[in-house]
Amino acid sequence: MDTEVTEPGRIVVSGLTKRFGTVKAVDDLSFTVEPGSVTGFLGPNGAGKTTTLRCVLGLVTPSEGTATIDGRPYAELETPNRTVGALLEASSFHPARSARDHLRVYCRVAGLPGERADEVLELTGLTSAARRKAGQFSLGMRQRLGLAAALLGDPHVLVLDEPANGLDPEGIKWMRQLLRHLADQGRTILVSSHVLSEVEQTVDDVVIVNNGTLIRQGPLSELAEHHGHATLVRSPDADRLATALDGKADVQRPHDDAVRVTGMDTAAVGHLAFTEGIELHELSTETSDLEQIFFTLTGEAAPETAGQATPAGEHHDATRAGGQS
């Protein structure tokens, strides 16, 4: 596991369209995933993430466009299990087959020694459950078994669809560390999620999709810089402050006594309040409210304040009261 991976591992999705009947699940989607990084593939449920990943893995035939790994469609990879590891459904195993036997089947197909099954079971913390029937596994253990299967061929590309599903906080932490470790070895990791906060601490780059189309691709840090800063102010005279800020910054009113300011420095907000003689009870910076950005970019209303949602596209209008980051 600790060998350096030097092969190229670029995933290229180009003009990908997939129609199911009259429904366009993916619509002219293009993006690239680079080796050595963890890329978060983000979007709300039904955004076309799973369909895209299944096209990349050759399980679904695109209506138009291509998806390649190492410059080839999946079906043309010579040793697919040694090139790409994938985790898709939470349970793709026979419930009456033991975890170890399940993995040994795929060792056989890939021409790997049967002991490799024990190695990945160890790596995913399932050694003690290796001989138990997989049908008795908890959701978290199923995810671990799925990940074990993905790692079987020591692949340099990993494609993981919602791997954090069903994991407890400790499991999510473990998954983060594992993905980080694997990416640091030079592997390409594409990990999908509908909840940004799940992968926020893990990913280097993001590909955000909604309704089957690309919303944004780029480094996560850039996303935060462009959209991340907000200042929360509490004041008994919040109305007057909002009026004073009008035209200078984007203003929201999460509560009667609060103003949320984006597009202006926290210090500048404080200074403005001081010069206007407005009494403040709180002045704080919300630095990394990525979940908020994510909701704004994908045009989804944040769950807590669905009623106050602003139209999609007005990126600087934050829509959620109170940071939860």
């Binding site: 399980l59 697919p80 459904e89 349970s91 793709s92 026979h94 419930p95 299967a149």
Partner: protein, 253 residues
């Protein structure tokens, strides 16, 4: 390809299904055999007597009771992959889906022959002492019995292949299993029993299998054994090819 076939054996023997199906086939064979011996020479039984070569061949042809269970084994081998979503890792490991079906056909031909062999051994173990007890002479190498046993092996293997083909075509496990059982035990049974319609029965898989095992029936005239074997092989291949072309290539979502 050898690795893929071995992987199919690994899959089969890592659950207990094969054992239950094998025992089911032996139990059904035993039931058929008990009826055949128990009602031998009974008044109104038109079947040939066990003292004739035809009767002895019919007795050993009961080992083709394993057909049904080999068919189910083949069906479940394919539909189980879809039911438990193991088809995802299977196709990820072998993106060329035709190779997966081919490996299953090869593996289940071998397993079908194994089912047939075990059932024949069980049939012999029941028939030899029982016939001796009722003073019927039996030589395993005469009365055309070797031919019937070879026919049983071929029929069971071809039914296993047919199962793989049916499973590839009808990916829904419950639909495929229920459909196969209704076909075998209702539709074919009716066709075999009804006048006029029964003229077509020899051309169905059940009739082809009976031809293959050189069964003699008072009212139905079967094809020659080799013709029955060829016909059954055509059914098995047709389902396998159709299943691969029409169904297995579909998106796995």
């Amino acid at each position: 390809m050898i690795r893929l076939v071995q992987a199919e054996f690994d899959k089969t023997f890592s659950t207990k299904l094969w054992l239950w199906l094998l025992l089911g086939g032996i139990a059904l064979m035993g039931t058929f055999m008990a009826f055949t011996i128990g009602f031998d020479g009974a008044e109104g039984n038109p079947s040939p007597s066990l003292s004739t070569p035809e009767g002895k061949r019919n007795l050993f042809a009961t080992a083709s009771a394993a057909n049904t269970f080999a068919l189910l084994l083949g069906i479940i081998a394919v539909t189980g992959e879809f039911r438990h979503q193991t088809v995802t890792p299977t196709f990820l490991a072998t993106p060329h889906r035709g190779h997966v079906v081919t490996a299953k056909l090869a593996a289940y031909a071998v397993l079908g022959i194994a089912f047939g062999l075990v059932t024949i051994v069980a049939a012999t173990a029941i028939a030899l002492p029982w016939l001796a007890a009722i003073d019927i002479d039996l030589s395993m190498t005469s009365s055309g019995i070797p031919g019937t046993l070879a026919g049983v092996l071929a029929a069971v293997a071809l039914y296993a292949l047919l199962g793989v083909g049916v499973g590839a075509l009808v990916r829904n496990q419950i639909a495929a299993v229920v459909g196969a059982l209704v076909y075998l035990f209702v539709l074919e049974a009716f066709m075999r029993g009804l006048p006029v319609i029964r003229d077509y029965y020899p051309y169905l898989p059940g009739g082809a299998s009976e031809a293959l095992t050189a069964t003699t029936d008072p009212v139905v005239e079967f094809l020659e054994p080799w013709q029955g074997g060829a016909l059954l092989a055509i059914y098995a291949l047709a389902f396998g090819v159709l299943g691969t072309l029409l169904s297995v290539r579909r998106d796995v979502t």
